[in-house]
């Protein structure tokens, strides 16, 4: 459906999550800009006894309608479109209604390819980018025997399978073999006995015939352009589009109430993470920025990034703040978690007890200062580990021919290096309970800085009410409205972090700084210091930093750099702790140092220990 963006004045959007359906209302203002005006939420009703997702949607939309003084749902329980007035002259309806969904576990996929690090990885990137959870990756070199692969496919209950492998004109044999392993496994879908398993083949075009022959009528095969037509090129678009189409045709059509919901929406329903990726990509493209967003949940942590126009998403399945908290501590190590705890008496034993208590009661939220400090310490490590996984996944293509000169003799870089560059990062966005609901904005800001270790100048923000999914699907219909609401209402700008990378020596001069603009200030920072400078929301200033020898703030080691910065709820954070952030080995000394940082950022007050 083609919608004229100029005719859109009133937008209604919902996000059907596993537990809550969230709705937002966006209206065109007299000055022509779009602003989010109302929000509502209601429990999701995809499960029994309701088994109809539209009930939760109507409840959430009705809540908005009541607050906005606008009738949005008619007597038949349908959303009124387009916007207009009733017989009494009262406003009714909306111009477009859009929705995302992650109810029922979202989109769960299995992917396959010939070589794990090449076509299989591209298939994984395509699936993750489309908003799916990748349950497993099957490849010719995954170390499993054919019968083990068949057994694994049989055990999984994916919503669909994406199969890739072979460059165009390249391998046919092995990709067909993988198809021949999927066929006898007869993977069973999660929804409906009549459901035909969708398989998307995005591999060697010459192998389409043999792959088709491998499957019978129990598989709905769709062939799209190769993900890797050559190893030098990655073409994810057609596979992602096919995933979205299959998601609507097969998965959503089987989920309770979604057939009705699809009839209401003005644009195709998108998987929630796919929509988040969409808005991040749109913003990065329109503003020419490199952006990274994180959503930390109870069981998983999603990291999205756009660097130089390349979008990547990872789902860290076992890093979360409730059900996965034990795994976070196990992976990070107790010492790494404890290094962020400044309170005396919080030792390993105490930490273990708190972790196990959280495992027993995963949905509890911190009720004491100690519990909050502990939770934020774990969050730092969960975010750090998720970021490490993201960097490992977001890489340049592997198996690509290199161009060399004799100058490369001693510096031969391999392909497959990460494209995530902390120095090039412009915008870092936080969402998820522990970040969004931290009592103080400065706590969110410091958690981000400690975990992601941005370098140079980076704007820090948080998604106020997790509106990014709504805006992601809106971006496909009205990118301008989406961008306006994203910058004005969705993001709460925390401030700007100016961080030194390179050879920072603790106690020695790191950099001098000067701020001119809405606020004027200047000073020097020693290695290991953290400083907060007031710069309130809406204020801008030009910050000039002169780093010491060997220290880099974006213009190369020792070179001064000037940058315009924006203020925020926290302000300007000057970070001379170096990268990676290293603390003194002595636990007592480390505790004092961390306490000093927390005091500087007003995370703890003067009287607090």
């Amino acid at each position: 459906m083609t919608i004229d963006p100029n005719s859109i004045n009133v937008i209604l959007a919902t996000d059907c999550g596993s537990t809550t359906t969230k709705s937002v209302f966006i209206e065109r203002q007299p000055d022509g800009t779009f602003r989010q005006t109302q929000r509502g939420e209601a429990p999701t009703t995809v499960e029994e006894p309701f088994a109809d997702v539209t009930i939760g949607v109507i409840n959430a939309v009705t809540e908005i309608g009541e607050v906005a003084g606008r009738k949005l749902v008619d007597e038949d329980g349908r959303i009124i479109q387009p916007a207009g007035t009733d017989a009494d002259g009262n406003p009714v309806g909306c111009d477009i209604y859009i929705s995302t969904s992650s109810a029922g576990g979202g989109l769960q996929m299995m992917v396959g390819g010939v070589v794990k690090q090449m076509t299989a990885e591209s298939a994984k990137r395509a699936a993750l980018g489309a908003g799916a959870i990748v349950m497993d990756t099957i490849a010719a070199n995954d170390g499993r025997k054919p019968h083990e692969q068949i057994q694994r496919i049989r055990e999984l209950r994916p919503d669909m399978i994406l199969l890739s492998g072979g460059t165009d004109g390249g391998d046919e044999k092995k990709v067909t073999e993988i198809a021949e392993r999927i066929a006898p496994a007869r993977p069973q879908p999660r929804f409906g006995s009549k459901f035909v398993m969708p398989v998307i083949f995005a591999g060697n075009k010459d192998a389409r015939g043999s792959v088709d022959n491998a499957f019978d009528e129990s598989i709905d095969l769709q062939c799209v352009d190769n993900l890797r037509p050559t190893l030098e090129e990655e073409n994810l678009g057609p596979a992602r589009d096919a995933i979205h189409d299959m998601f609507l045709e097969h998965v959503m059509a089987q989920a309770p109430g979604y057939d009705k919901l699809m009839g209401w929406t003005s644009a195709p329903i998108m998987p929630t993470p796919g929509a988040v990726g969409n808005i991040l990509t749109t913003i990065a493209e329109r503003q020419g920025k490199n952006a990274l967003a994180v959503d930390i949940g109870g069981a998983t942590t999603d990291v999205f990034s756009v660097f130089d126009g390349v979008f990547n998403r990872t789902v860290s399945a076992n890093l979360g703040m409730s059900y996965s908290i034990s795994n976070v501590v196990a992976e990070a190590g107790l010492d790494n978690v404890l290094r962020w705890v400044h309170l005396e008496g919080m030792d390993e034993r105490e930490l273990r007890n708190r972790v196990k208590n959280k495992m027993i009661r995963p949905t509890t939220i911190p009720q004491s200062r100690e519990a909050l400090v502990f939770e934020q310490a774990v969050a730092r490590e969960a975010l750090r580990l998720a970021y490490v996984q993201h960097k490992e996944f977001a890489t340049t293509l592997k198996g690509v021919q290199q161009q060399r000169t004799v100058g490369d003799t001693f510096s031969q870089k391999t392909s497959g290096t990460t494209i995530v560059d902390a120095m090039k990062l412009d915008l870092l966005v936080a969402s998820g309970g522990v970040l969004s609901h931290a009592p103080r904005m400065s706590q969110t800001a410091l958690m981000l800085v400690d975990a992601f270790e941005p370098e140079g100048f980076t704007t820090l923000a948080k998604d106020s009410i997790f509106m990014m999914p709504h805006l992601g699907v809106l971006a496909s219909v009205h990118p301008q409205a989406s961008e306006q609401v994203f910058t004005r209402d969705c993001l709460v700008v925390l401030g700007t972090c100016v961080a030194a990378a390179g050879d920072v020596k603790w106690g020695k001069p790191a950099f001098s700084w000067e701020m001119r603009g809405s606020q004027n200030a200047e000073g020097d920072l020693l290695g290991g210091q953290l400083k907060l400078v007031e710069l309130t929301p809406g204020e801008t200033a030009t910050v000039t930093v002169k780093p010491a020898r060997g220290i880099d703030l974006g213009a190369g080691p020792g070179n001064p750099v000037a940058h315009e910065v924006t203020g925020g709820s926290v302000g300007l954070i000057l970070d001379a702790r170096g990268r990676p952030i290293a603390l003194p080995e002595s636990r007592d000394e480390a505790r004092d140092v961390v306490e000093g940082w927390y005091r500087e950022l007003n995370i703890i007050d003067e009287g607090d220990a």
Binding site: Q117, A140, N141, G170, D171, G399, Q402, T414
Partner: protein, 291 residues
Amino acid sequence: MPCFSLTSLLLVAEEAAAAAETAESTGLLNMDRLPLLGVAVFFVVAVVFWISVARSGGEINVREIAGLKAIEEAVGRATEMGRSVLFVPGIQDVSEIQTIAGITVLSKVAKTAAEYDAKVEVPVARTLVMVTARETVQEAFLAAGRPDAYNEDLIYYVTDEQFGYVAYLSGMMVREKPAACIYMGCFYAESLILAETGNSIGAIQVAGTAMPAQLPFFVAACDYTLIGEEFYAASAYLSESPAELGSLKGQDLAKVLAFGLIGLGALLATATQFVPSLQGAFDFFTGTLLG
């Protein structure tokens, strides 16, 4: 113990023999050459010490060698493209240390190819190299759990003639377009011909040689190049065996000592130009210490 260590020990033995000869003619020990004995003892002790450290579980870090890391990538590329991997073990016989170092890398290539179910083709210029390569590849396929996939016909003898061999390889590369070309061994004039042909067919190329004159050609035309000592260190890097890692570390220490002596000699030579009284020390350094 790796072959390069054997060579070093042979050199030490040679020195010892020379010393014994001197002792025979002048007495029990030639005291003038005593510092050289010290250097030899330092080398032996360093190697033995680090081997024992490695065997007792001590961690010996070998820096990442891009060329060896790229082998998986090269084999993966061949697998995705449905083409073969070409391995060239140089043009010398098994008596050449570089050929043996190349065969060590072939073992890794073959094991990776077995895991990926890719085809490795090894045309050789010496019959004994063919036999060695066949055994190596067979063992690698066995270790990877794919003995059935081993095909000895893919490892074959072409000719002893340098340019006959190169002409065959070039023709074969143009006709069959292998996705990856790996050159590991002793090369002469053929290095640039092979590397340029491989580059023109779009193959990923990994080269390794200790021939200084050929290195610039390989560096410019190949994707990855193992340079001199890196090529010899490949064995320790790939096997991770304590004996080889310890030996590598010990040799590195000996090299540090050699660099130190070179630096000291240069300083002394310069200093004698300004302070003539240091001439005696310089003579002792060059005449006695360095033999």
